[in-house]
Symmetry: C2
């Protein structure tokens, strides 16, 4: 994939500050940045956005909203308020969308959590429209169904975004979460047809994954046929940034500049 479409998530190079990330990404030829909330420290979101644009990068997404389901109505209301605050921050940053890790509660059924996710998104939606910030539902791998997301397939993410039916609500497809899914191609086509395909994330699934959260692989290092999925995504007409999002205790312990070099190479060769 051409570097012109390359975006990196700040979490990928977690040891770096936002200023350091911006400078180094730009120097490496990366064109976009997705900003995690924790990366905006010691400055306002508007200042962070300025810093990014001044260095010639695009803000691709703000990460991450969601976590709507709770057994208590009070907690659910708090989650909605929190997401509105994130919309405000995204708008100040100049991010066109927020990625939603929708949430789940081990103390209730997945069906109940899904209903709360839908109503949570619907409650945030009017403000998101007003602020011109899109909401992208990221289906998470079923191994996160206990407490991170009750939306565990692209099929389910498509169902819920179609049910909501707004141009401001769509889907973020991350190969890590959906590569195993039967009918993946058909679900990507479905998602693209509705203009619901709003973001595309890449990394790799290591055959011997040592940690369920923070052992994602660099593209090419695992068993996902990323190029095949990229072709499916491209075929929908999606021409936005391709976002590199890698959580890795292993890479975070290494020299981040070398790691960025590997990312750029893998992006050009394996995506």
């Amino acid at each position: 994939m051409n570097l012109d479409r390359c975006c990196v998530h700040t979490i990928t190079t977690k040891p770096w500050s936002l200023a350091e990330s911006v400078e180094r990404y730009a120097a490496a030829g990366v064109k976009g940045i997705s900003v995690w909330q924790n990366a905006v420290e010691g400055m306002t979101h508007a200042q962070a956005g300025e810093l990014i644009r001044k260095n010639g990068l695009d803000v691709v997404s703000y990460v991450r909203g969601g976590f709507f389901p709770h057994t208590s109505a009070e907690e659910r209301a708090k989650a909605i308020e929190h997401n509105k605050k994130l919309v405000e921050e995204a708008a100040a940053l100049g991010a066109p969308l927020i990625v939603l890790v929708c949430g789940a509660s081990p103390d209730q059924t997945l069906e109940a959590s899904r209903a709360q996710i839908q109503s949570g998104i619907e409650a945030v939606l009017p403000f998101a429209e007003q602020m011109n910030v899109k909401l992208a539902i990221e289906p998470l791998h079923p191994m996160y169904a206990a407490d991170r997301s009750a939306i565990n397939s692209l099929a389910q993410a498509n169902d819920i975004s179609e049910a909501i039916g707004s141009p401001f609500v769509g889907v973020a497809v991350d190969v890590y979460h959906v590569w195993w899914e039967p009918n993946l191609e058909a679900e990507i086509i479905r998602c693209g047809k509705n203009d619901h395909l709003m973001a595309y994330h890449v990394c790799d699934w290591k055959v011997n994954t040592g940690d369920m959260l923070n052992d994602r692989g660099l593209m090419g290092e695992g068993c996902i046929d990323i190029k095949k999925i990229s072709r499916w995504v491209d075929a929908t007409g999606f021409d936005g940034y391709v976002e590199v999002e890698i959580f890795s205790n292993i890479y975070w312990q290494q020299d981040q500049q070398e790691f960025l070099g590997k990312i750029v190479k893998a992006f050009e060769e394996k995506v």
Copy 2:
């Protein structure tokens, strides 16, 4: 669930020998045992079967066959021969069925692996029929799709067992692998209608799972609504053993007799 339907897998109390497991299970009121291949050591399978029946236990299943997919035809042929050997061992043991962990290869697509799984099962089937040993496809959680199984949902297991269409090929439902699955109830009903529901395994999904292989929970310790799933399974008319299969580095390090006591209690209260 009444203890009369309780079966324990030898792997659950891995530190014990088969003789020790048999004796202790029987003393605890457990009525069935599922035998892992590694548990049959220093004796023939026929002797193992005798030992089990002499202690008043039923042999419920032999674990585990499968692992059919390989990129090389030679390896696939070897896998088929290996499975025939397992059928022979199961028959000698007096086990009515073999659980299949179907396999996957990170070096080929999941679709290719699934085709090889189907043809592998079909190649073993005539011998299994002859030996009166059933083959139960166990769908594995998608987190095992890289190299353990390309069959990652009950829906897919139902598809393949229906495609094969033999009374000797069915499905083993393990709550650990399928609890997150949308349409789980419908797929259990579908499975039961075809008389393809051949085995039912229980354990629990711990919210903070520390190890992808060996950190399963005791029933009641995690977030799976086991009773609900048991009701769905019962509603199909399935009245066979309910098998406790727990891989746990944590429990294996504890006193196994105490652990067995906890299993019996959890079986009566949480299943």
